[in-house]
Amino acid sequence: MGRSKLRFRQPRPSARGALPPGWQLGKLWFDERRPLLHFVVKFLVVLAFLTAFSLTPLYQHILPGYLDTTARLTNTFLHILGEDTHLAGASIWSQKYSVTVTPDCSALEFSWFLVAALLVFPARWHWKIAGIASGIAMLAVLNVLRVATLYLIGIRALTLFDLVHEDVWPVLLIMTTLVFLAAWIGWTEYRNGSEDHASA
């Protein structure tokens, strides 16, 4: 009986280099996506920074003011619509129904997402600032509309409240944030193109 030997098969060098085909495919995949992976890493760093900021006492100090302002604007909007509502901090109430703007209803997570994406995307700084300002303003207005519609649904069609609160508005906010981002990228590309054309 011969001695058994452990034998290790060496990876075969392929035509394109020393790496075996499987590794080559992986390397190619990563090489093709290197700028995208840089973008993803930078985006996550900015998002982590914003999340860390949300844990600071300064943010905790600002947040109630933001929630109260949202409630105040919603109350004004409901008055325009003819509702007899009253304000108590971040709560809007009437004889018929009441809603409270809690930190979960602030829609700030969508603003962070938008801010991180716009900051990381390569464009001119004044375009980024314009995008961030208009994006945050748009989300704040949408949030006022969200709270107002939830109040109105609470007094007119209470059975639909959970559906609108848990399904319709979150999906609408995700859609709007991404559509805004796509539109902003399209706008910057268009401006880039027209400026290149003008300089040529």
């Binding site: 995208l36 999340t51 997570e109 390569p122 464009a123 399904d167 991404l178």
Partner: protein
């Protein structure tokens, strides 16, 4: 170069697909919740060790939410008759799973590439999404494990861990599908992609 007309078409396509897929179809979220619960049980639960994970139907099911209840048990704290402190973690797995999957599929479908590339992106994206859902749930379980002395954290660290858990849950549905879409769908060479300007900026820097 991105054309505005094509952007409008892509946006409309995205809104339509996402709206249809994210709608609360009867039974879909329940099925997704059961599927994800089974996956969490298979991957994160173990027969040995100090931590035991039990799975129950959340009381919120009665209110129409497809939530899973994960019961975290420290075996060291249990008495021989099986009683002891436990920590309940209620996660809306149905919404988390369906909404993030719907967003990923809508983004991929709305990207103006060939169907072959979109199909490959879907095949790559779904396992990535599963990985991140599992990672999120694993983090939530770890964070909640402090309540049954499986993990020891200082009060400040515990507060940070709890806050991060809330924020991660809120951000997950939008951040993870978008990032997975970016990585699995686009390539460096895509001139029609949104990264055209990124390459241009990189080239300017290199000069």
């Amino acid at each position: 170069m991105l054309r505005r007309n094509s952007i409008v078409g892509c946006i409309l396509w995205f809104v339509l697909v996402f709206g249809v897929l994210a709608a609360p179809w009867p039974g879909l979220r329940g099925a997704c919740c059961n599927y994800l619960q089974g996956m969490v049980r298979t991957v994160l639960s173990s027969e040995s060790g100090r931590r035991e994970l039990d799975f129950e139907v959340s009381p919120n099911h009665k209110r129409g939410y497809d939530e899973a209840r994960i019961v975290i048990v420290n075996r060291d704290l249990m008495t021989p008759n099986g009683s002891g402190p436990v920590r309940n973690l209620d996660i809306d797995l149905g919404t988390l799973g369906t909404r993030s999957l719907a967003l990923l599929l809508a983004l991929i479908c709305a990207t103006p590439f060939s169907w072959k590339r979109r199909g490959i992106a879907i095949l790559l994206g779904i396992p990535f999404l599963h990985f991140f859902i599992l990672a999120l749930i694993a983090y939530c379980i770890w964070s909640e494990s402090t309540e049954v002395q499986l993990v020891t954290l200082s009060p400040a660290m515990k507060e940070i861990a709890n806050s991060l858990e809330e924020r991660q849950l809120a951000l997950f549905s939008i951040v993870v599908p978008v990032l997975v879409w970016v990585v699995v769908t686009f390539r460096r060479s895509d001139r029609t992609s949104l990264f055209t300007s990124m390459n241009a900026a990189d080239n300017k820097k290199a000069r």
